[in-house]
Subunit: 132 residues, 2 copies
């Protein structure tokens, strides 16, 4: 039962990562995220700087909402958009994990290099074997 | 001339971000990146853990190569795949920039809250105006 729950969680996290990365794969949507990262805003305010119809921008906003990156709430007549920082944290964490893997590799390579250098300078271990 | 060059650079960076984010929007491709982040590997080694044909995995690898996330070089008969850390750094930096925006917002809100609290305790400025 716990395993099924854990699997469900993994599946939904995977689906979330898919959706968020796909949502980020567009310059207009990234610009909307950058705008909303500075402050929440009305739909019309978000659309204003773009050279495209409100309808076209609305479609991009819809993709961002479906991916969970952008939230919407009503304030009287206005629809206010804001960023859901948690979803971006999740993709940021994924990238950080990959970086961690190759940082570890670089560290391992550095250690190996240091060992090789030590060997080259004939450390105690090498002298025992009496090379050169 | 410099402006045109700068614009070209921006356009190609935008296109790169589009391609890398799109490449990351798939669980198989993310698993391949995770594998290659640990060490470079032959195409067959990369394909091995997946329950799909070598052909299907090769298509995903092709998407990763076109996006610039994965590089390929030959070692005799083998095709060796490795990760291009720079392209992932670029998307990681984009996300870090967004985080920076909203961290600044949170800091600003914190400062405002502190000011409001001070005002509530009737600091010198408030006393001068003699409110309450």
């Amino acid at each position: 039962m716990i395993e099924i729950e854990a699997r469900k969680e993994t599946v939904s996290r995977t689906a979330r990562l898919d959706a968020v990365f796909a949502a980020l794969a567009d310059p207009t949507r990234r610009a909307i995220i950058a705008r909303l990262s500075r402050s929440e805003a009305r739909v019309t305010e978000v659309a204003e700087p773009f050279r495209m119809s409100l309808n076209a921008v609305s479609k991009h906003i819809r993709v961002l909402e479906l991916s969970g990156v952008v939230k919407r709430h009503r304030k009287g007549r206005d629809h206010i958009l804001s960023i859901n920082t948690r979803s971006l944290d999740e993709v940021g964490d994924w990238i950080a994990r990959m970086r961690h893997y190759w940082d570890e590799r670089l560290d391992a390579m550095e250690r190996l290099l240091r060992e090789l250098k030590k060997g080259h300078k004939l450390g105690p271990k090498d002298r025992k074997h009496g090379s050169r």
